[in-house]
Amino acid sequence: MFSLSEEGVAFVKRELNRYEDRRSAVIPALYRVQKENKGWVSPESVTYLSHLMDIPSAWIEEVLTFYTMFNKRPVGKYHVQVCCNISCSMNGGREMADHLCSTLKLKEDEVSGDGRYTISRVECLGACDKAPMMQVNDDYHEGLTNDKAVEILRGLK
């Protein structure tokens, strides 16, 4: 059974009182679950949150499915998100995504055998002046080349 850590529970309770409306705590709570659940939100964690927050699970489900930053399936320890929107595509973003997939022998959105990586293509991340770029978990890596990107991934602990 999924449950949040003690600090996680305390966090969610604080968020429930933070905004004008309790319901606004759903997004922060889902972020917390994702952080404590290896990067994704499982169906059972939605049930858990619904009890913890006293908010219908349908409301939580609605938020979970709407926003792209919540992973509905397991992801690798490092979620590598390569921007393939216009300015990055003009500067080799798509080729970089392909290069990472072939170097790591991975298909897009799949978890690597060792559980380390998932590579996804995403839309503009607001770093277009430093194209191509990628986000690995919370961190931006900008002004890349194919080789630099591989080096960054290999260097992750």
């Binding site: 606004s24 792209t68 216009i86 300015s87 293509r121």
Partner: protein, 432 residues
């Protein structure tokens, strides 16, 4: 020439902290000045300054504020820091380099509209911005610039941040309100406009980061001083996020009315050696594309770009040189709108899907001549009949690409390959 009004101190790292903001800049002196004015006076000042919204639509800010009902009903101020328009990266810089500038602008704006509570809605991926702004808000509370009876006035204002979670549509003001309310970020039918019925059904003002930061300078220097930059209908300076094929991409603050040609060839160092300018998207991917001759005579203000059938939008300038295939770039862009349509309105949900499918088929070498016609027809059926402007934002660029670069689309259909790109290219774009 750049005119650094908002960005004057952006090069200095200490400007991020309250201490630096006081030492290098002028601290919260403008807030002190504002609190001695009448709220209505500030609204009139902002009207007189000619400030227009920097988030995309360019709506006059002072006028928006005066739509609020004149009763004592609680009202909210929301700062739109969702920054999702492809090509735009100025709000991120503003929050990370100068969080206090935004916070001060927001407290002044909050005072002008008599709001006791504001939120900064920051796009989920901007974790650094979130952390930096949160820290600055704490500093502002500790210094007495936020909270009860600010600086001994009887104005009370609280401010908080809210993190989005990945959805372009949450940048649309009513989508943002839905999201902040803890729901999926679907836009709501207008009217009622947020100024009457917004966040939690209460009167709400939504403004972009850059708009709210500019308010500080209007109050500090006066409306006439602010108007020294820009044109009659496009007053002040604006940050332009320039990306694509220029030598020095980045954010540039220039007076509105600045020639696009100078932005590209002087400030941004022009194109790579040997490359020719082919097209420019002047206001984010929702803005219709300009051809090279259009770009060379465009000035960066609301009226010139509108007159050319495009728009200033968020100020994201995407510079496209002759190594790019326009069919390919439209494919990338239509993929985006299809992905981001929230699906409430049939013309948008179906239209963005069809547009993407049709252009993808051309871009894979399997298009038919009538598909080019089809792109135009689908687009025209998507306009002016949906809850929000995303549908139009997908249709307008599609129409412009197809009509201004028709010959490239026809070539692709006829020859089954790009007129510009070599053979190896098709692989990379296929799974997009």
């Amino acid at each position: 020439m750049e005119v650094k009004l908002l960005t004057e101190h952006y090069g200095k790292a200490e400007f991020q902290s309250l201490e630096g903001y006081k030492k290098i800049g002028d601290g919260y002196e403008t807030l002190k000045k504002a609190l001695k004015m009448q709220p209505k006076e500030i609204i009139e000042l902002v009207k007189a300054s000619g400030l227009r919204g920097r988030g995309g639509a360019g709506f006059p800010t002072g006028m928006k504020w005066s739509f609020l009902p004149e009763n004592g009903e609680p009202r909210y101020l929301l700062c739109n820091a969702d920054e999702g328009e492809p090509g735009t990266f100025k709000d991120r810089m503003m929050m990370e380099r100068a969080p206090h500038q935004l916070i001060e602008g927001m407290i002044i704006s909050g005072f002008a509209v008599q709001s006791k509570k504001s939120y900064i809605y920051i796009r989920g991926e901007y974790k650094d911005s979130l952390r930096i702004v949160e820290k600055a808000i704490r500093e502002a509370y500790d210094a007495g610039f936020l909270g009860k009876n600010i600086l001994g006035s009887n104005f009370t204002h609280d401010m908080d941040v809210y993190s989005g979670a990945g959805a372009y549509i949450c940048g649309e003001e009513t989508g943002m309100i839905s999201s902040l309310e803890g729901q999926k970020g679907q836009p709501k039918l207008k009217p009622p406009f947020p100024a009457l019925k917004g966040y939690l059904g209460k009167p709400t003002i939504v403004n972009n980061v850059e708009t709210l930061a500019a308010v500080k300078y209007i109050v500090r220097d006066g409306a006439q001083a602010y108007r020294k930059n820009g044109t009659e209908k496009s007053a002040g300076t604006k940050l332009f996020s320039v990306s694509g094929n220029v030598m020095k991409p980045g954010n540039y603050e220039v007076p509105l009315g600045y020639p696009l040609k100078d932005l590209i060839f002087n400030l941004c160092g022009g194109l790579k050696p040997g490359r020719k300018l082919k097209a420019v998207i002047p206001g984010g991917s929702s803005a219709p594309v300009l051809t090279e001759p259009e770009a060379m005579r465009a000035t960066m203000d609301y009226e010139c770009l509108a007159q050319m059938g495009s728009m200033l939008g968020s100020g994201a300038v995407i510079v496209i040189d002759d190594s790019n295939c326009m069919v390919d770039l439209l494919n990338v862009t239509m993929h985006f709108y299809h992905h981001e349509s929230c699906g409430q309105c049939t013309p948008c949900r179906e239209g963005t899907g069809w547009l993407h499918k049709t252009v993808a088929s051309i871009a894979s070498g399997h298009g038919r001549l009538q598909d080019i016609q089809l792109l135009d027809r689908i687009s025209k059926n998507m306009m002016g009949r949906t809850i929000c402007a995303l549908s139009d934002a997908a249709a307008m660029p599609a129409i412009s690409f197809v009509n201004k670069f028709r010959e490239e689309f026809e070539f692709f259909v006829r020859e089954g390959r790009s007129k510009v790109k070599g053979e190896g290219f098709r692989h990379a774009q296929m799974h997009h």
